[in-house]
Amino acid sequence: MSEREFGFRTRALHAGTVPDAVHGTRAVPIHQSTSFVFKDTDDAANLFALQKYGSIYSRIGNPTVNALEERLASLEGGIGAVATASGMSAEFLVFAALCGTGDHIVASSKLYGGTVTQLDVTLRRFGIETTFVDTTDPEAFRAALQENTKVVYTETVANPSSDVADLRGLADVAHEHGVPLVVDATLTTPYLLRPIEHGADIVVHSVTKFLGGHGTTLGGVVVEAGTFPWDNGKFPSMTEPVPSYGDLSWWGNFGEYGFLTKLRSEQLRDVGPSLSPQAAFQLMQGIETLPQRMGEHVANAQRIAEWLESDERISYVNYAGLPSHPDHERAREVLPLGAGSVFSFGVTGGREVGARFIEALQLASHLANVGDVRTLVLHPGSTTHQQLTEEQMAAAGIPDDLIRISVGLEDVDDVLWDLDQALDAALAATAATEQTEEAR
């Protein structure tokens, strides 16, 4: 072993997967087992009391899942990670660990629709209130803070408005209030942006998206920086005795490792959204090529965004990689490799032309996902964001003619061809309809 600090590509391939001691297995083995045999009764007692490390039951931990966890912690620059069944359950475990009835969250209003409903419907029903802030200005987040606020929450780059969060500003606001900044970095991945380097305390991902990359497997993860002072008085559950584990204290016994130990040993135990070993294996196959894929994703996205912006059939393009976007300067600063490959645009002629355009596409897939290796398109107003009210839609920055694109890894000229032919087809069909209506 040497002192070398290994690079991102090396860690994407090696972190978390030292070959095993017995067989020397090179690829990560799939430990397809619900449970693990104890050496003896003392071993069992010590494992259950968290007095030693080891696998007990796959809801709490599984060696294949652990390999994924360490790899993602390494790529994010965190102290560790807890993997979950999906990105939504990763968020839920964080909120459930930090908030209880009577507590409060300050969140960006420009979040993935499922996150908005988790906060606005499910957590509100549990007595946890959320104030949504309709700007990236940290001062507006500060103004929304309350005595009982426990979390400040944002996404790195908003979907589909492409607004870029002021992570450093939000971290300062959160820390001055004694609470962590929690960041959903799904759309940027640690290859493009590592929120911990900008002051974030906790990073969550839908690993389903660019990290997994292939659109085959659901997964989520929580990564923690390991630097938040959980003993600052705002989080009694981190310092008070835990009866179910022999009156230990998460902070007192585990220090900087305490939050993730609580998340695993208490929240995964009680809530149960664990990642399966088969899924962890598949997601790791994707992570191994994350740097190479993301480089191509952002190059293709930039080319397509520029093409769309220069086309008169397009009414607007929201992509932080374009100088026309209000957050372009911030994107250049915090996302020097590229502003991701999910963005949005409107087709001149409005909602109906947009719908025809989507139906006329041959190559781009119409479905509700982002971050596939294939190019995906969606009309949020009639799908992912359908359950939001008009006010929530407006606050999320989603006009009803907006089309979201997640640019894939096809030959970029083929995607441009597809967009071009679908725009022609949509406009021709609309013109024909108008002529028919005029003739009547």
Partner: protein
């Protein structure tokens, strides 16, 4: 220039083994690999105390000979407890300290007298002056680190808790105990 030399000479006279710096991960691994015995100073018999976690871990997951030091206790985990380092049946390689930072210099002197190799202050315990004192007595010194976590970092345990070990290696996982 002459001022610098004078300062350096004075520093050398005062600190013959050099100025103490926190050991790197590789050096910590070397210290753990070269040790065969560990004395836990300030060991507790209460299961929820950090020292008990470390003791249980080392006894179950390592090949170290583990000794306990606490003048107020007779037995921990079925093993005898000794009142001081001088009364141990062997010279401990690592002296693992669970005491307040201001108590550490006295323990460093005791450790030097018995001939220990490494002073190890546990997670949350910092005393750079005591670490320098250990260097001046010819010992290695670690502060604000957990022996359990550091051993587990290099022997697979920390990975099984989803933590970032920083270990990148194509060699087989090393086991101990």
């Amino acid at each position: 220039m002459s001022t610098t030399e004078t300062t350096a000479d004075a520093a050398h006279a005062e600190h013959p083994h050099g100025i103490w710096e926190p050991p790197s991960p590789v050096r910590r691994l070397q210290l753990l690999h070269s040790a065969r015995s560990i004395a836990i100073v300030g060991a507790s018999n209460k299961p929820q105390r950090a020292s008990h976690f470390v003791a249980t871990y080392l006894l179950s997951s390592s090949s170290y000979r583990v000794h306990f030091i606490n003048p107020r206790l007779d037995e921990i985990l079925g093993q005898p407890v000794y009142p001081s380092l001088a009364e141990l049946p062997e010279v401990p390689d690592i002296v693992d300290i669970f005491r307040r930072p201001e108590d550490v210099p006295g323990i460093v002197e005791e450790a030097a007298e018995v001939g220990a190799q490494t002073i190890w202050m546990q997670l949350g315990i910092r005393n750079p002056e005591a670490a320098q004192l250990a260097r001046d007595r010819g010992m290695e010194a670690v502060q604000d680190r957990c022996v359990k976590i550091e051993h587990a970092r290099f022997h697979g345990g920390l990975n099984l808790a989803g933590f970032n070990t920083g270990v990148i290696s194509a060699k087989r996982q090393r086991l101990d105990g």
